[in-house]
């Protein structure tokens, strides 16, 4: 008596024939579909104290303007 053909059983047999290494290197490996994941800004470049001091101090070190005195 011939067992009825089952595609699922056939696939399962094929899967079992693969060694774990072959499976992981082949059909079990993650798909290759890269997507960019840029790092987000979570911290200010300067700490809070520095920013507060900078906000309070006059802007003495700014570059001279290219204004009326030229």
């Amino acid at each position: 008596m011939t067992a009825p053909f089952s595609p699922v059983a056939a696939r399962q047999t094929a899967t079992r024939a693969l060694s774990p290494e072959a499976l992981l290197a082949g059909p079990g490996a993650l798909p290759d579909a890269p997507m960019a994941m840029p790092a987000q800004e979570l911290e200010h470049p300067q700490g809070l104290l520095r920013r507060m001091i900078a906000a309070l101090l006059p802007d003495r070190f700014a570059a001279p303007s290219a204004g009326a005195r030229l």
Partner: protein, 591 residues
């Protein structure tokens, strides 16, 4: 695209904050009145401030529950039969867990999805960060069995990172940068997660119905708890948490939470918004972001995506710690992660509610310090108080007794206990009235369980208070807690293990009660409910880790096992029995 909170939402938030602030200020005023009876000193003001902060925090939780009781969870509008167009993947990060238990969970969820008959294709990626080579070898072997059993060649994937940089967040990020382009949606799980197939499909449909939705969080229920501690947590998570979560969902609007698992993300939104930088400096405050989930939710909201908690969704499960020691270990990690958020709370562009959530997380861990500060200040207060002057008027022959303000102190104590007890009692009452209590063994058992849970949490609270305080000090002192593997399973503690984990709590309790007896004998009886559980901490740890078969703390999942749990039990039992004629995996691998 950026969603804006409506006026009603702002009004609700304002009302909740105002109610909590009023409770805190009343406590502050009552304590000042009490302290003023014998003349206000600096310590009285300090204690009043500590009471203000602590009461405000307690009241905030109570208000959340009260708001939660005013509404029912409702499903958002979406077509429940719409064909799923997007490509989805279930991400199961693992880290030294038992692969048999973990992989059979994957098999159960896949079987549950298949049982719905829905043609949607959902892949699975097992993302291993396992460091133990023996467990890693078992993972590889069992992955082959999983693929064969679920007929999932080309649909199930496994990879193990050489370095577990960035822990779980790094694990997910590595997947997205390598394979994210293949998927529209990713269901992020934990190794102990289980979700019904129907729930997963419903989540995907809801995300397809709302193009602004970046993350959809479910409210996972704790299941399979066996111990007294585990079942108390399970009952609390099933009976009380949904009401607190409802209150939270009503106040957060579209700036919802991410709890790191049992949540669906839109892969493009997550990739664009949630790349986490390494914070400047060394751990615990610098380095990789530990509690990444809160940060990712905040970043999604910052980028204009909706982050939503759909608390109407059932069929989402996780497991919890079975004893206080495991709970404290996990809490140590969460403590460090939440305190690290103090570095992120000022991040540019965050939504105000996201900053508030960070503040809440930090407060959850530093609140015990305020209570301990209040207790210590109260014990030493009699030492520094000026002696009462019974003859304030020179030459007057009769003593003057200052009016007692003890009634104010008693009123304050009743108020604080009310804030602790009232929400849970109200939840039990509402559950009895609405019929929800039926799932918890009926109204009487649910009410008795509520009282038992209150008694149990009162006993364990002083112990947890000290564990949390120690964690906070460790973080402040710069000690990195690392990333220990979660213990999953039995969790029964012996008396010697309990003693080893908590003898310092016993010592603290003994010293504290002795100091109270000698320095502030009037407080001795008042502080016994705090001191005794500390002194008997080893016994409580041991007792609470033992199996419980009581009718109390019954939950719906105990009365009727959810389908996916039954599926998992069946598959796990099969996997734990060697297949007849199957080769020994170890031999097959090596030869």
């Amino acid at each position: 695209m950026t969603p804006r909170p409506t006026g009603a939402l702002y009004a609700l938030r304002g009302l909740a904050l105002a109610l909590a602030a009023i409770a805190g200020l009343v406590a502050f005023w009552l304590f000042l009145q009490f302290g003023d009876a014998d003349g206000l000193d600096l310590l009285d003001v300090a204690r009043a401030l500590l009471i203000l902060i602590s009461t405000l925090w307690l009241a905030w939780g109570a208000v959340q529950a009260l708001i939660g009781l005013t509404s029912q969870a409702k499903a958002p509008p979406s077509d429940t039969d719409a064909p799923i167009r997007g490509r989805s993947v279930i991400l199961m990060p693992v880290y030294n867990e038992d692969p048999t238990t973990t992989f059979t969970r994957v098999a159960a969820m896949d079987a549950s999805i298949a049982a719905t008959g829905d043609p949607a294709r959902i892949d699975v990626a097992i993302l291993s960060d396992t460091r133990n080579p023996e467990i890693a070898q078992r993972e590889e072997t069992l992955f082959a069995r999983l693929v064969a059993e679920r007929d999932a060649l080309g649909r199930f994937f496994y990879r193990r990172r050489a370095q577990n940089t960035g822990k779980k967040a790094g694990n997910i990020e590595e997947f997205i940068t390598r394979s994210g382009g293949a998927y529209d949606y990713a269901l992020i799980l934990d190794a102990d997660s289980l979700m019904e197939g129907e729930t997963i499909l419903r989540m995907i449909r809801r995300m397809e119905a709302e193009p602004r939705l970046g993350l959809l969080q479910t409210l996972p229920k704790i299941t399979r708890a066996q111990s007294r501690f585990g079942r108390a947590m399970q009952f609390s998570a099933s009976f009380f948490s949904p009401v607190f979560a409802r209150g939270l969902a009503m106040m957060q609007g579209e700036t919802g939470p991410f709890w790191g698992h049992n949540a669906l993300v839109r892969v493009r939104a997550f990739a664009e918004s949630c790349g986490l930088p390494v914070l400047r400096g060394a751990p615990p405050f610098g380095g990789h972001v530990m509690s990444h989930d809160y940060v990712e939710a905040a970043l999604l909201a910052r980028a204009g995506w909706v982050v939503r908690l759909d608390d109407d969704l059932e069929g989402s499960y996780e497991e919890g710690p079975e004893n206080i020691v495991d709970h404290a270990k996990r809490d140590r990690r969460w403590c460090q992660g939440n305190l690290q958020h103090s570095r992120i709370i000022g991040a540019p562009g965050l939504r105000p509610w996201s900053r508030f959530v960070f503040a809440q997380g930090i407060m959850a861990y530093i609140a015990p310090l305020f209570w301990i500060g209040f207790l210590i200040a109260s014990i030493i207060a009699p030492m520094v108080a000026a002696p009462v002057n019974y003859f304030p008027v020179p030459g007057w022959p009769f003593p003057y007794f200052p009016p007692s303000e003890a009634s104010k102190a008693i009123g304050l104590a009743i108020g604080i206990f009310g804030l602790l007890l009232l929400p849970k009692v109200l939840i039990a009452t509402c559950a009895a009235m609405t019929g929800r209590a039926q799932g918890f063994g009926g109204a009487q058992i649910a009410f008795a369980s509520t009282l038992a849970e209150l008694a149990f949490s009162s006993l364990t609270a002083p112990i947890l208070l000290l564990f949390t305080t120690r964690s906070v000090f460790q973080v402040f002192l710069g000690r990195d807690g690392g990333w220990p593997t979660n213990n999953r399973g039995d969790g029964r503690l012996s008396l010697s293990e309990s003693f080893a984990a908590s003898h310092w709590i016993t010592s603290t309790g003994l010293i504290g009660m002795a100091a109270t007896y000698f320095l502030a004998p009037g407080l001795f009886l008042w502080l016994l409910p705090v001191g005794l559980p500390m002194i008997f901490a080893p016994v409580l740890l041991w007792w609470s880790s033992q199996p419980s078969r009581s009718a109390l703390m019954t939950t719906p999942s105990e009365l009727e096992t959810p389908e996916v749990l039954t599926l998992h039990d069946t598959i796990l039992a099969r996997w734990q029995t060697p297949e007849p004629g199957a080769p020994n995996p170890q031999v097959a691998r090596n030869g």
